[in-house]
């Protein structure tokens, strides 16, 4: 096969009663457009952060708040979850045993949830010494940006659970495959957004 299947890993849906190949491609393309629209939202939050990072109003500063180690661990978690999701889409595409698929999906979910837990822990530490969003423009921008990303990850985790339910209910029918693919795109994109976050927020804040 040297064909378009590679366009999106797993877009090899096989014969299906409900959706044609074209239909599947449209569905994915539409989702791509949505992701780009979403990316604009993140981009503007980054720009906003950039203009507000100095607006600390005498309160906590990036240097006082950001720790490299947790950020590094969170990065590793998300990056690995991207890889495990990729592995899951291969399992789906090549019709590997259901257990394999669930295994990789489960690993992804676990990594995602751990990431969320760590992030919540970061927030808790910051809140504990008064670095709350209402303290300054800088902290508002920080929480909005990372919070929106965290919210996306949470939604993605929830969606993943729903998808597992659908696989159990319907097996890998065309709709399920398409939605898993979309979720995959979503997940990978969140990782990409995180690259920007750790570079622009955490690393910039820790540079001396």
């Amino acid at each position: 096969m040297s064909e378009p299947e590679l366009a999106h890993a797993g877009l090899n849906l096989g014969p299906s009663a409900e959706l044609t190949r074209d239909g599947a491609e449209n569905a994915i393309f539409g989702f791509w457009i949505f992701l780009m629209s979403d990316a604009v939202i993140f981009a503007l939050l980054f720009a906003t952060y950039g203009t507000m990072v100095a607006g600390t109003a005498g309160g906590p500063t990036p240097a006082s708040e950001f720790k490299l180690l947790p950020a590094f661990v969170e990065t590793l978690l998300l990056l690995t979850s991207s890889a495990t999701f990729g592995r899951a889409s291969i399992a789906m595409k090549y019709a590997e045993p259901r257990r394999t698929l669930f295994g990789w999906l489960g690993a992804t979910l676990g990594l995602g949830l751990t990431f969320l837990a760590l992030e919540a822990n970061d927030y808790a530490t910051m809140v504990a010494h008064g670095a709350v969003p209402s303290r300054s423009g800088f902290l508002s921008a920080f929480y909005a940006l990372t919070g929106l990303h965290g919210l996306h990850v949470a939604v993605a985790c929830f969606w993943l659970v729903v998808m597992v339910g659908q696989v159990l209910a319907y097996g890998l029918d065309a709709r399920v495959k398409i939605n898993l693919l979309r979720l995959g795109l979503f997940w990978h994109l969140l990782d990409i957004v995180w690259i920007a976050i750790f570079s622009v927020v955490y690393l910039q804040g820790a540079i001396r």
């Binding site: 366009a7 604009v40 570079s199």
Partner: protein, 100 residues
């Protein structure tokens, strides 16, 4: 199963490269060897490279005909985002300069 192999490799390469780039970025900040501005520049460049890697290896966007639409979409989006972000930064920093 050749394809499967190829795709697995693609993910593996993506993962390894991303890992390396991440470590490099954190290391550049943890053990700075150049000035603050230059370090931030390095971090940004590494970040952009890593994004490209992930688009290529995880999202399978390439120059192939089959993903041409996706690529066009992403490039156009990048253009608009660049306009918006750079515009925002230039304008707001200029305003700041003129107002204090």
């Amino acid at each position: 199963m050749n394809d499967r192999r190829q795709e697995l490799t693609s993910y593996a390469i993506g993962y390894t490269l991303s890992l390396a780039l991440t470590v490099a970025a954190f290391a550049a900040v943890r053990w700075p060897s150049v000035g603050a501005r230059a370090t931030f520049g390095v971090v940004l460049v590494l970040g952009v490279i890593q994004m490209a890697v992930q688009f290529r290896c995880f999202l399978h966007v390439s120059l192939k005909r089959s993903s041409r639409h996706d690529l066009q979409l992403i490039l156009f989006s990048t253009l608009i985002i660049a306009l918006m972000v750079s515009g925002t930064l230039v304008i707001l920093f200029n305003l700041r300069e003129r107002m204090m």
